[in-house]
């Protein structure tokens, strides 16, 4: 299946070894979208590198930005003010819903259901409108700054988010109605691409892929960052770790994110939105590894500073790159038609895989 394949979410080439219809081995050829982000990081100042981070996982740009800014704040031993942290949480959760919506739409399209795609894009459009009103950009938002936020929350932010969350509850009902009990959908996803818990941990899968295999671990709960410790939300966990469980986990995650947003907009604390951080950042020499729960999994930043304006080394731990490793063992023994479903359920974004 060549790089221009209609259903590989970007430029991914999969070499399949087939016995008739059955897949007996596979090898992912990646690197088509490699832009050398980490090399560029070593030649840019900390603030200048922030927009590059959005281009990696272009579907969930806001959470990339959050991860990077928080990593540098940890490096500077600086804490973002509470108001900034709450607004950051709201925007990141909205981005998670948007990312899952895009996943649901394209995944359902690959398996043949035409309608969910348009429903998902209708909701996603509303979220992108909120981003546009907040920071002018829809996709690569560069919404956050190191130390806090650049823009004050626009006045109708709470109302927009509330209107969206109110409408979203019935919308998820629509998707569930279309797919969850649908016999053909079950036929195409039940028992496809099974990844047991032990294998998931061994292969380093994180995020919904890991949780669907039964491991109850979410960085937002385990090591809360931004303002996640102030809100109550559950972590959905699957049982068998097949495509259907990943579908259920992500649907439940969308609901939880909606709850977080609702709790967050109730009281956005007043106060400054930017910590005391100078124009020129020269973090004291040293290193830090900071990971956040991106929609695809654990997104980690390992930043080493040598006291100068430019980071000495920025290493980005991409969840899609690691989750894609599980593809080979998941695809084995399935038919070619299932390969499409498995790529969909891993929810990989090639910008992040190749960096």
């Amino acid at each position: 299946m060549g790089p221009q394949h209609p259903s590989t979410h970007g430029v991914l080439r999969v070499k399949l070894k087939l016995d008739g219809e059955r897949v007996i081995g596979s090898e992912c050829m990646i690197g088509y979208l490699h832009r050398g982000v980490e090399k560029i990081a070593e030649h840019r100042s900390y603030q200048q590198f922030a927009p590059y981070v959005d281009r990696m996982d272009y579907v969930a740009a806001v959470s990339n930005g959050l991860g990077y800014c928080e990593a540098i704040e940890k490096l500077l031993m600086v804490e973002a003010p509470p108001r900034a942290r709450v607004i950051r949480t709201i925007l990141t959760e909205l981005q998670r819903i948007a990312s899952h919506l895009l996943w649901l739409g394209t995944h359902a399209l690959d398996i043949g259901a035409l309608t969910p795609l348009f429903y998902c894009f209708r909701e996603r459009e509303e979220i992108l409108k909120i981003f546009e009103k907040y920071c002018g950009a829809r996709l690569t938002t560069h919404a956050f700054r190191i130390g806090g936020l650049q823009y004050e929350a626009y006045d109708t932010l709470e109302k927009d988010v509330e209107r969206f969350c109110k409408a979203f509850e019935s919308r998820i009902g629509d998707y569930e109605e279309l797919l969850t009990q649908n016999r053909i959908w079950l036929g195409r996803t039940k028992g496809v691409g099974i990844l047991k818990a032990a294998d998931a941990i061994a292969i380093g899968a994180t995020g919904p892929v890991l949780r669907a295999s039964g491991v109850k671990w979410d960085i937002r709960k385990a090591m809360p960052y931004a303002a996640y410790d102030q809100y109550k939300f559950e972590i959905p966990v699957g049982t068998t770790g097949d495509t259907y469980d990943r579908y259920l986990v992500r649907m439940e995650e969308m609901r939880q994110s909606r709850l977080i947003c609702l709790q967050a907009i109730e009281n956005i604390p007043a106060g400054p939105i930017m910590a005391k951080v100078g124009k020129v950042l020269k973090p004291p020499p040293g290193e830090v590894y900071h990971a956040i729960e991106a929609p695809k999994g654990e997104l980690g930043y390992y930043v080493i500073s040598d006291g100068t304006v430019q980071p000495y080394r920025v290493r980005i731990r991409p969840p899609s790159f690691v989750n894609l490793q599980a593809f080979d063992q998941m695809a084995r023994g399935h038919l070619v038609a299932d390969v499409v479903a498995i790529i969909g359920t891993l929810d990989i974004v090639l910008g992040e895989v190749d960096r």
Binding site: G36, E38, I40, A202, P285, G286, E287, T308, R315
Partner: protein
């Protein structure tokens, strides 16, 4: 990007490698990672405008029970244990990395290898740092294990211990040229196989490209 890539040697970094190291484990390897520069030697650069931060103690020697157990088990292999910004870092000897990794996974329950990457310190004699970021579900803790490797020296592969290291090590090889002994199929993962040179090394200039490969495959003079 308006600014031109500054190549000048970052001023503040203490030049050369400082042999002295605070904790005095039995056999200190000659070179000491500049990163864990002794606290006293280089006064932490106070960021210009912010209020003069007290020279906070960033790299403090770490001595919790984990370090104790590891030192008891491996003694010399554990070169150094420090804590940077409340994150535990163990520097271990390159030769026994795989063994220590197995120990950390089984006894210490660090069952998830979040990330495996490498850092290039051209100034140091043992040039590369292979950095493993581990996480344990049971203890909800992170640990960073480092091993120093010179150019061309082989680092034992941990793909056996954590299968996720397979691609991560291939990427480290692709970007830095570090050879991992015992890796199932060590080959380039992101760049084309015939690409010459290792991009993420400090001496590999950002403008530079494998012009040979570009000319031959893409048929254009040069990437720029």
């Amino acid at each position: 990007m308006a600014d031109e890539p500054k190549e000048q040697q970052p001023s503040g970094m203490p030049a050369g490698d400082k042999p002295a190291s605070s904790a005095a484990p039995a056999s200190t390897p000659p070179a000491k990672p500049a990163v864990a520069s002794p606290p006293g030697a280089a006064p932490p650069k106070p960021a210009a405008p912010p209020p003069p931060k007290p020279p906070v103690q960033l790299q403090t020697p770490l001595n919790n029970e984990l370090v104790g157990r590891v030192r008891a088990k491996f003694g010399g292999a554990l070169v150094e244990a420090i804590e940077d910004r409340k994150q535990a870092i163990l520097a271990v000897e390159r030769g026994r990395l795989a063994e220590i990794a197995l120990y950390l996974r089984d006894e210490e329950k660090f069952d998830l290898l979040s990330d495996l990457t490498a850092v290039d310190w051209p100034k140091r004699e043992k040039r590369f740092d292979v950095v493993l970021n581990l996480y344990s579900f049971a203890k909800n803790e992170r640990l960073r294990v480092k091993a120093h490797a010179g150019d061309g020296e082989e680092v034992p592969s941990v793909a056996g211990v954590w299968p996720t290291a397979n691609w991560l090590e291939r990427e480290a090889f692709d970007m830095f040229g570090i050879v991992f002994a015992g890796h199932p199929n060590l080959a380039r993962i992101l760049l084309p196989d015939e690409w010459q040179g290792y991009p993420l090394r400090k001496d590999y200039d950002i403008i530079e490209q494998d012009t040979g490969w570009v000319k031959e495959n893409l048929g254009i003079e040069s990437g720029q």
